[in-house]
Assembly symmetry: C2
Homo-oligomer: 305 residues x 2
């Protein structure tokens, strides 16, 4: 029943500064975090572009994982670069720069082997590129997407077309409020679902996740309380990878699998923030994932009397 997933998004060089440590030019990007995370559950087919500076040493992070890189283009020029800096509480982040580089001219082109992939994740890129990918996949079973304030403000029409064609939107709380023009998240969820998606997943960082399923059925999960949080970079994409990875591995989308998918997504994200960049995900094993999933059960379970 396990289905593969196609993901489109950035593969990047990140520079990250926190009050505790700074790293430069480490492998990052939405598609990277997503695919690393989802590969714990199923095969991920990556659609992205890198420059000539992205070499064998960088490619090593994908090695030995269920990550198909046939759709990763290498073109002349420099790889997408991002630099961010965090304040002391690690909740506030400032983007120092975003250099699109080779992503500026990116025309996603799916290899023939990707065309019948049942699960699709459209990472946070220009909505027109999300549509270009979606137009190439034949009869996908489930499409989920991420977006951000930049596209909500600059390309609302294209984003609107994306929303009409996806089943699940995964965004953070401030983006949900901005997209719906409504501060109350319960009301915002209803408005956003009227734009197309049947399911809305709202990421709230250290405060967990809120999901609006079919109708008004809400599901909420706290974040795992952690003793060490070193770097939140990639947590959202890692969440999406665990969420979609679990759904694709279960092969069906029901209230029950959606709930477990939220917990698997939260589980994966809780590891990602424990070290800088991809470091923690690179040493993670399946048993640790299942152990933390069970810890989520202990964390949240109560019996009715």
């Amino acid at each position: 029943m396990t289905s593969p997933i196609v993901v489109v998004g950035s593969v990047a060089f990140d520079s990250i500064k926190t009050p505790f440590k700074e790293v430069s030019r480490v492998v990052g990007g939405a598609a990277t975090y997503f695919s690393m995370s989802a590969s714990f559950f199923t095969t991920v087919r990556v659609v992205a572009v890198v420059g000539e500076d992205f070499g064998q040493r960088q490619m090593k992070v994908f090695e030995g994982r269920a990550i198909d890189l046939e759709g990763l283009q290498r073109v002349p020029g420099e790889t997408f670069r991002w630099k961010g800096e965090y304040g002391f509480d690690l909740n506030s982040r400032e983007t120092i720069y975003t250099r699109l580089n080779v992503f500026d001219q990116f025309a996603p082109r799916l290899p023939a082997s990707y065309l019948e992939t049942p699960f699709v994740f459209l990472g946070n890129i220009q909505p027109q590129l999300q549509l270009d990918v979606l137009n190439q996949v034949k009869a996908p079973k489930l499409v989920a997407a991420d977006t951000m304030n930049y596209w909500i403000e600059r390309t609302p029409a294209e984003l609107g077309r994306v929303l009409e064609r996806i089943q699940i939107l995964i965004i953070n709380d401030s983006e949900a409020r901005e997209l719906a023009r409504e501060a109350n998240l319960v009301k915002a969820a209803r408005r956003i679902k009227a734009m197309g998606p049947e399911v809305l997943v709202i990421k709230r960082g250290e405060h967990g996740v809120l999901m609006s399923r079919d109708g008004d059925g809400l599901f909420a999960a706290p974040a795992m309380p952690l003793e060490e949080v070193l770097d939140p970079t990639g947590a959202g994409d890692t969440f999406a990878g665990g969420f979609m990875g679990y759904l694709a591995s279960s092969g069906e989308v029901t209230d029950a699998t959606l709930g477990r998918a939220i917990i698997y997504g939260s589980t994966m994200a809780s590891f990602a923030v424990e070290d800088f960049g991809l470091s923690r995900l690179l040493t993670l094993d399946a048993e640790q994932v299942h152990e933390r999933f069970r810890a989520f059960k202990t964390l949240t379970h109560f019996d009715e009397v």
Copy 2:
């Protein structure tokens, strides 16, 4: 198995201003919200003081409920008054004034009928008064307390003596961080438990509750997502009332009853914020409480596969 609870705390006149509405001189206070909430589960014995301006009309809010007012003193002078103002997101609150009035000379004196009460809740008042109450109760089975930044900063020695004698401390996240001098809540919980309490309950407002039980066993619950939040005044005390009320009604303190107590506390608080002051609690019935408790189960439940 149901045990009564003694609560000490303020019975007050509140004035509340939000961007949407303003009310003046309505009945409030920690002991009021606590006892209204806990009375859905068991009998509550109130220890507090009011002035001559607190008349029959004000006493009506307690009528017909399992609230014993033998320990409510009426003395010459004015009742405790508090005025607070909320910003647009209702998370930030400014205290406009606090007038202790008759509370300034308050010497809590428990009626003979209160002395053998098994469950005790020490509301947020001067730690020395909390100790005075505790010294009068004979062999309590469970003592819980609230406190605030003011006492953490001004009377740390007295507060320390309170902490040594209670089993459960119920405070908000900023108070937990200040008391432990530690920003990370998992580490802060460990430090605070080393000061005395076996269980720490950390209230996080709209982000729910985190509880550290025996050892390092954590329990977390989201707040119920609500479409209308009109006034957060009293939410914390209403939470404590539901939490202690359920524990006292179950008669035993185990990991299972503590988890359900968090959910009953969250349930009661979710009603309190839906209208101004005590209004929503005054019209609430037991069936609505149980229905929302079940909604919490739906909100948070997931199966392991």
